[in-house]
Amino acid sequence: MVGIVILAILAISASVGVVTARQPVHSALYLVGNILSLALLYLMLKAEFLAAAQVIVYAGAIMVLFLFVVTLLTAGKEERELPEDLPGQRIVAGILSVIVGGVFVALAIKYPGPTLKAPLPSHFGDLTGIGRLLWGPDFIYLVAIAIMLVSAALGVLVLNPPRKRRQQEAEAREQRAESKASPETTRKEREGTGS
């Protein structure tokens, strides 16, 4: 119980850190902290494999990716985020989020749900248990994940293609485009009130 409270405090403070950190790098690091504390929570909730996956995939792969991009995009720049300029944005968003979060907390606490007396089934949460499911009846989910990963890979290829291909495409586009409307004129037409 105490462990849970400590982990909860850790997780919450890390997540607050993510939101409040000035630099994206710091945010990313806080997020790693959050992920790690959650991983520990998973362990306590008898989800051993997931705890491992959380650490390996999230902290290991995803966050590293994040850090790469952060450094790529913010390298050499030391600028602070501009202050809020949307009227009421933070007040409304804050109040709403607090209320919504509060509602969840209240609901979760008020309606605890059944407590099963029976012991946990064997292989609950370990690699065997998950593996039996995922390579058994739930195999189709893995297929879906595979497809998603394929599309992610394709996405990266499409969005940030190699230089050579980019040139090819630009040439092809120029050949086709004789009267390409510049974004400015499009803007104007779109902003006009029409007839």
Binding site: L86, Q89, A93, L96, S97, I99, V100, V103
Partner: protein, 621 residues
Amino acid sequence: MQGVAEIVLLPLLGAITIGLFKGIMPKKLPGIWASLLVGISFLVSIGMDLKLASLPPGHRVISGIFFPWITGFGPAIDWRYYLDPLSGIWILIITGVGMLIHIYSIGYMHDDPHKARYFSYLNFFVFAMLLLVLAGNLLILLIGWALVGLASYLLIGFWYHRPSAVRAAKKAFVMNTVGDAGILVGLALLYIHFHTVSYSGLFRIFDASHSSAFFEWTAFLLYLGAMAKSAQFPLHMWLVDAMEGPTPVSALIHAATMVTAGVYLMTRLYPLLRVAPVLAYIVAAIGALMTILAASSAIFQRDIKKVLAYSTVSQLGYMFLAVGVGAFTAGVFHFMMHAFFKALLFLGAGSVIHALGGEQDMNKMGGLWRKMPWTTWTFLAATLAISGIPPFSGYYSKEAILGETFNLGHPFLWLIGAVAAGMTTFYMFRLFFLTFFGKPRDEKLYEHAHEAPAVMTVPIVILGIGAVFGGFLGTWLNHWLLPAFRMYKGAPYAAIQYGPLWTTGFTLGLAVVAFIIAFILYIRKGTSTNAATEKGVGRWAFNAWYVDAMWTYLAVVPFKAIGNSVRQAEVGILAGVKGLGTVVWDWAQDLRPLETGYIRRYALSIMVGLGALLAYYLIRV
């Protein structure tokens, strides 16, 4: 069936053929063709009347159906014709006088480039008028009624370049429509209650009924039609303006035939008048009022045709007086005599106008008797007739009306009629003296004056014969009409009667006095026509007692005002429609900035939706 259709359709044939082929007809043909057709129609009419006469006196009706007009919601209304002695008289006058005026018109319209159109209209008028009088039910009568109105409109506006003619035509048409609408509602009422509008059917029902408010109102609505057509107060001003048309038209339509359609209608509906006694009295009273009102106006007019127009209105008043008090035969008698002498007067006036190159102002006339002997003497005969000087025709008919009015217990109406008769003498002789005697006031016009050609004088002379000797027809008319009037209840005093001798004497005395005054004023003193029209009674009378102004303020101005306010409302409605569109458009434009383009705003919007959904749920629980 046989004859009736021909009587009606021959003039229509003329109208159509002339209308269609006027482009390829020789110049003179339309007049001759039109006159010929009306002449044949006249002959057929005589034949039909003879046929009618061969029937036993109490059953002189030739009636039947051509084909149904409308069916489907109750008893059918048919194209029904109805020839009885009453309509027999009318068709004779219409075709007979009509033919004479057609012939006269050949001369009168000789120089007009549009005379083919003129004859087409004239034939169309004869057709419509015949349809009116031969109709066997009120609905067909109404069709004829409206078509004569149309013909009148067309002919008044014949010279459509003249703004005054156009205005007069419009006025005539609209005023006549008032009457049409009255008849329309009246006959709808009758149909709703009795499921028939044919004369025979209605008359049987009237016979079996007692007077009631329903009949009074129905009769009033029908009388409204008669009022409009026959220029009874307050719907009479159009007739005076109608003199904008060619003079033969004034003679035929606005004196001899069409304007007496109201008389015909009221006479025809004599069984209805029995069950609507109040209305009958109103008819008589308004008739009497008209006699004196119009006569007073006639006294002060300068335009020769206007004098005659007011005179017509006045004479129509006599006829309505007769109808209203129940002296039906006398009324018809006066109609016949009036057709002769008033047509004659108009044709004579037409000759004068023709001779003077279109001049109508009596101030520019005078001394024409030397130049136009035929016209002058026939005109004199007609003047004597209308003045009621025995033994001319007018004397008999007018005395019959006045006498019967007196006999039937309406001494006040009689007095009005008698005084008006005196005034008639005065204004007619004023007209006669100013036109034909004295010195020529406009030498230039006088120089050019000439007698009309034979084609014009012959009809005048024929009519003159009627005007002089027509009075002797009274007895025959009694025999002819009385059986017809006795077929249904409602005409107990239809026979022609004359009043006590002193009443005749009184009227005659007034006439003589009026003649003397006119002689003194216009022969001896040479008074101007403008005299006494500047102020007082004279001014009022000259302006026809400002009835036109009354209409302007009672109808035209309010109608236009309504029109204007309606236009305001329309602006409002259209603005409302447009406004609604603008509101939606503006609303949409106002909403657009909500779509700010900021992702965080969008996320907030999602959050707001989430909050709302949760709140909705929590509040419900």
